[in-house]
Amino acid sequence: MTRNLSVELTPSQTIGPFFHDALIDEDRSELVAPDHPSVIRIEGTVYDGAGDVVPDAMVEIWQANPAGRYNDPKDDREDLPLGPETFSGFGRSATVDGGKFYFVTLKPGALPDPRGQAQAPHIWVSVFARGLLKRAVTRLYFPEEEEANQSDPVLSSIEDPELRRTLIVVDEGGFLRFDIRLQGDNQTLFFGFPDE
């Protein structure tokens, strides 16, 4: 089939500065109750290329549950439990003054990639903002998963250790810090998707 799909995909445009009433009208930064026994809290700041905070970004996360299963019927690995009951795996947090966002969630389990190779526990992160004509996509990993991180097919494909480090949260005791630098020498690593 030689049909060129690239011309037909609807192009991306910036989220702009005025999305809050439509997209943040209900709180989606807490995926579980803050008193859940296994809760983790992720906090971060979005910075621009001048090192200034970005107070009008929207950060989204998408993750598997603690058993490593996604809350999507297309993930039909029925041997793995779903839940906890209200756990959607999807979160959305707007940055506010100071450029800060946060999520209250559960640590995802490890999961196989489609070839069966294990992926380390990770969370997909999307960043949208005025001045971003399309989203920036990255993945968040956990420092205590050293061994799993070593063999993770995505992390291990990144040769530069400095870049790799931008994907691993910093345990600040009480919360996990995941700062996102859109531009500059210490820019966060962002991913692209392969051609279909």
Partner: protein, 239 residues
Amino acid sequence: MRQPRTSEIAGLRSEDNGLPPYLYPDYVATRLRAPKKPLIILPKTLSDITAPTFGRELVGELDSDLTRQHEDEPLGERIIVYGRVLDGDGRPVRDSLVEIWQANAAGRYTHHLDRHPAPLDPNFSGAGRCLTDRDGRYRFVTIKPGAYPWKNHHNAWRPAHIHFSLFGEAFRSRLITQMYFPGDPLFGQDPIFQSVGDPKARELMISTFDLETTIPEWALAYRFDIVLEGRHATPMENH
């Protein structure tokens, strides 16, 4: 007068898939926010087949009719905006969340940071959502948004547009875009619209006036079909 396009001089190219590039200097806010390091292309086998799903309980009856969310009707030209959400293979994207937001007929958002000295409309919030049906169809009733000025360059105006947020069936399908109206005279000076380099791809962001769907003596209709990435992904291990 047309602004000089630094992007034409700098030889920046629009990236693959008709997507805009991150850096488009004519759109000033991209200069400090555009990632500049090369993207790491994910291994092909990891194309994720999952995406967030949302139940019907999330969407209220009036969420897709932006003209009925208040006591009275908003001012402006009442319009129907409808279309289909399709994947890269042309298949309908079913039961998928569509979120929209827009300025009122005077070109003003309800947002507290919008300082454009145009009137707010107490009967218009400008936010809507719905789920696509079995055939990927969605439909909103709203009013036509006004153009508005912004400070990107001297005498800069955004063409009238409605923001769209879509999820699709895979993580890679996620899209936020803007729907424009046919024949808008402001396209030429708008760097956000022009950031999509391919004129054919730009046309995909422009809705089509649809006389047939227009409801006589009530509302004009615009059709906007959306094509998202996705669907060639490798199934998960135990399929």
